[in-house]
Structures are given as structure tokens and as C-alpha cells.
Symmetry: C2
Subunit: 157 residues, 2 copies
Amino acid sequence: MDEVRWLDEREERAWRALQFMQMRLEAALARELAADSDLSYPDYVVLVALTDRPDGRMRLFELAHELGWERSRVSHHIARMTTRDLVRKERCGSDRRGAYVVVTDRGRGAITAAAPGHVAAVRRLFVDRLDPDMLDAIGEAAAVVLAGLDGEDRAVV
Amino acid sequence: MDEVRWLDEREERAWRALQFMQMRLEAALARELAADSDLSYPDYVVLVALTDRPDGRMRLFELAHELGWERSRVSHHIARMTTRDLVRKERCGSDRRGAYVVVTDRGRGAITAAAPGHVAAVRRLFVDRLDPDMLDAIGEAAAVVLAGLDGEDRAVV
DNA sequence: CTAACATAGGTGATGCATCATCTATTCCGC
DNA sequence: GCGGAATAGATGATGCATCACCTATGTTAG
């Protein structure tokens, strides 16, 4: 049992501020999205991922990987979105275990309507508050931490 | 209707990386906490807040404010924690609408057991991956964004 | 070829988070 | 004092996220 290295004041401040910012930011964005679009934040990111593809379709496991979601989460969420006619599922010919998720017209309409407001909110609350140096610093720091997380996952598996 | 100012490549990169980092980091910390402590992340932060007080007690609304939670969330969560004997509620004498949350012995035991591992994980996955400059930059950036969010809230209310 | 394993996806249970709404109490202006 | 507004907290419904587990299909070592 080694001694515990608690966080010092500077470390604690940065860590807590980041946590708090993330929580408040996500809550604010989700609220704004819900207020003017009938989409939740998860709905939004799914539709962004799908409409980034020229054919508006993706395998479920691709979606899971791209969004960093668990497979089961994708399954549940796509099921909910399907009942709202934002996406639909199609069986996959080449791999009969698999399925495609395809964005519907209604889904396209929803994301087209929602995106400008959401991007404006991201700017107003986050991007435009920070000067480019800070933004780069954050991007770089996040990349470093992500690389560490990836490394752990690979080590464990 | 003004033109939409979409995010440029640098902005998008920073924003996405931050989102992704936050998601993966919180998931990893929550999993680790759950694996060796029977506490969820929300349980953990509640117990930290309570044990920071000399008497281990707080009003529910204080807890809501300190954690940045909605009142209803606090109410539900404390109810769940009460059934597990991590905290208990006490009626407040001076304000008969109110109630205290008090950490129990079991709650103290749980947080004492969980904290070293959690702090070690925060170090391993986040704090120790970044040099002090980066950490400060993040703390500062988060503070700026938080100030903006506070400003909006005050303006709306 | 077949047995073992890996992968794609689905499902039910449970805990988490929010919303709308409710009651009880306190505060505050008149 | 009294009546309206604000505040403290609770509650039920609903959507979100994870876990443990399941089926079906594909892959590969022997």
C-alpha cells in the first residue's frame, strides 16, 4: 500500500473546473436542442454521423465505434429513434448477422433544422469564448488523454 | 436569418476531442469506481461533498448548488442512497420545509475505501498525462466558459 | 470438416437524469 | 396580520445508459 498522492490545489482546480464545465455545457446544449428541435443530444450525434455518409447509412457497429458508444446502447437508441421515424433499419446482405441504420427523410429534416441552432450555441457557449491558442491547447490535451485511454484499452484487451 | 458560421477544422477538432475525452474519461472512471467500491460516480461526489463538512451534514439545496445538480435529481438520488444506508435524512429545526442529508458510518467507510483508488485513476488517466502548463490552460479555459454560462443564466433569470 | 471462438446485434432489468407538477413553509409588501 | 410570491423538497413518468445475458452468423485452428 503506497501513500496516496492526493491532488494538489492546482490539479484539483483544473479537474473540478473541467468536470463542472462539461456538465453545465452539456446540460445547456441539451436543453437548447430539446427546446427547439424535438431531438435529444444523442439523437443529434447519431443523425450527424449518418448524414456525414453520402448514402446516409451505416452498420450498427460502425456507429458504435464512431460515437464511442457501447453496442447495446446503439441498439436501444436506434430502436427508440426507429419508432419516431428518424431512422430505419435494413438487413445487411453480405453479413446476415448485421444490419444497417439508414436516416429517413424525417431524420434529414430534423437534423437540417436543428444543426444551425446547435452550432450557434456551441459557438456562443464554448468556441467563441476561447481564443485560438486556448482552443488548440484543449484539443491537444484532449488528444493526449485520449491516447492514454486507448493505450489502456489495448493493454487490457 | 443570418448565414450559419459552421465550425472550421481546428474548432471542430478541439470540440470533438474534448467531447470524446470527457465521455471516455467519465466512463472509465465510473467503471473503475463501480468495480472496486459499490459506489456510482454520483454517489462518490455526494459523499465527498458531505465528508468535506466537519459535521458531515448539508441541506439538500446546498448539495444541489455545490454539485450543480437540479433539486429533483438530488431528491431522487438521496432517496436511493438512503435505502443503501450511505446517508440519512434529518428534519431541519429552523426551517420546517427543509431537511439535512447526513453521511452515515457506512457512507464514511465507503468513501474512505474508494477515494484512494479513484484519485489514483484520475491521476493515471488525466492529471499525470498533462504537464502543468496544459493543466493550467485547461483550468483557465474551463473557468472562462463557466463564467459565460453563469452570465447567461443570470441574464435569463 | 467440425469444434471452438469471435463478432453483430437484441433484450430485460436496473439505476440515472430530467420534466412537470405537487405540498408545505417562509418571506415580503402592504 | 394577510395574501401573494418565492423557496424547500417530493413524486411519477419518461427517456437515457449500462449490465448481464441471449441468439445467430461468421471465422479459423486442428
